[in-house]
Amino acid sequence: MARRIPAALALALVAVAAPEWFAAPAAADPNAFNRLLAPASARNPPPTADGIHDPSNAGTAVLQPPRASFEALPRTASGNHVDWDAALEQKRIQPRAAVGDANAQPTVMELNIVREVKGSMPDVVYPHKQHTEWLDCSNCHPAIFVPQKGANQISMAAILLGQKCGVCHGKVAFPVSECRRCHSRNKNAAPAATAAHPGAQR
């Protein structure tokens, strides 16, 4: 017994020094339950262990580990694993709308654009409200989206290749693995009061 204590102490030392090694003992198991899905404990790794930052750089250790920041924010299943829109709405974050002015407010536009999709996928609803909280009109119009019916060809392929919605979604905004966040209007739902658009079909 007396001799086993020091060995246990040694193991405890290792556990203290490198806790993530003990969180993932199944790394070598070919029949692990979730082989490719990273466990929650491996998400948002600190800069010294994230594979991009150089751990031998002194400054890397000074950078804030994302997890410390994200713990206080609402979580989602993808991307940063943070629901940024909810965080904004709940005022957990207060990002500025101007460099020097902490009180500047964006002009938010409440307008939804609906696109029906073929097949059984629910229709896409694009909400200006959530986007104009963050972005200027000129960020998207007209360079990425022409504000005119029939003027924008959007397909999942285009989005995945980084065009249209994919300029941001799948790069810095939530990725397209969360289908329902965009495909949010079920087909059998009564359509909301739609403003019939001027017939600008081409």
């Binding site: 000074v62 804030q64 654009i113 029906e116 200027d136 504000p147 397909s155």
Partner: protein, 299 residues
């Protein structure tokens, strides 16, 4: 046992030393700066001090403060070189920081007019194209409500703002023009409010004429065609995959030609069938290139 205890102590110390630095509001070095860091900073500083366009600007401006700051940067840099030679990394680092701050302020006191001007011009173009597209949209919404733009107070006010901005731009007063355009954008959004707030617009295409639907499908086909080189460039498929991609694209093109022929003969239902099949081939080409698209018929 004593040896083991001291090993344990050493291990514990090593564990603490390896612990991540506490989060700080302001970044602080975790100890003395490394030689690598100081060398890189010194290289950067000497580059700054050798940037002749900036030096020429500062000299030509006659700005005494800028000249003084430049001189301070030079002396600090020389001091840093001496400190480096003497092995004093922390001292060299501090002197270099002062040099960088000084030369930065000097440069900002005498900014590069040409660079500023081209930035402002870019911003002007971006803002103008943004406001133009919004105004076009606003005009359509007004027309749909049976209102002529010249009867709408917001439209008149906005037009006046944009015209004033254009006039300022013509006089090369781009900064002021940009500020006006920002005000115009804000005013335009406010004008949209009563028209659109809380509404939903349906962008789904509904076709009255088969010819219209054919045009739509043709455009859709073209946009998929644009995606193929993009996919090839980003996904870089292997040679045999590329051959497959080329075959599918060729089949798609053949069907597109068929579709166009049929459309010319006014056989729109035949043309639609052909162009849709052409698009399916392009989708297969994208799949062969390695793009894993959700397998649902897309809009």
């Amino acid at each position: 046992m004593r040896r083991v205890t001291s090993m344990l102590a050493a291990a514990l110390l090593a564990g603490y030393a390896g612990a991540p630095a506490a989060q700080a509001d302001r970044p602080s070095a975790t100890g003395a700066p490394s030689l690598e860091l100081v060398r890189q900073k010194q290289t950067f500083t000497s580059r700054l001090l050798a940037d002749s366009p900036a030096l020429a600007r500062i000299a030509a401006s006659g700005n005494a403060e800028a000249a003084r700051l430049l001189e301070r940067a030079r002396t600090r840099h020389e001091g840093a070189l001496a400190a480096l030679a003497a092995g004093d990394h922390a001292g060299a680092n501090a002197l270099l920081n002062e040099a960088i701050a000084a030369i930065g302020r000097a440069r900002q006191l005498v900014p590069d007019a040409a660079e500023r001007s081209s930035e402002e011009h870019n911003r002007y173009r971006q803002l103008l194209s943004g406001i133009d597209s919004l105004r076009a949209s606003y005009r359509e919404h007004l027309a749909h409500r049976g209102r002529a733009p010249q009867d709408d107070a917001s439209w008149i006010a906005l037009t006046e703002l944009v015209d004033r901005a254009k006039a300022l731009a013509a006089e090369q007063r781009i900064g002021e023009a940009n500020r006006l355009l920002l005000r115009a954008e804000s005013a335009q959004l406010d004008a949209f409010g009563p028209l659109l707030a809380g509404k939903t617009i349906d962008y789904t295409p509904h076709f009255g004429e088969p010819a219209d639907e054919f045009r739509f499908e043709l455009e859709r086909n073209r946009s998929y065609g644009e995606l193929v080189p993009l996919a090839l460039a980003e996904l870089r498929p292997a040679a045999d995959a590329r051959k497959l991609v080329d075959r599918y694209v060729a089949s798609g093109r053949e069907l597109e030609r068929t579709a166009l022929r049929r459309a010319a003969d006014k056989d729109y239902s035949g043309a639609l069938a052909a162009i849709r099949a052409a698009t399916v081939y392009l989708q297969r080409a994208l799949l062969a290139a390695g793009l894993a698209v959700p397998r649902e018929q897309e809009n």
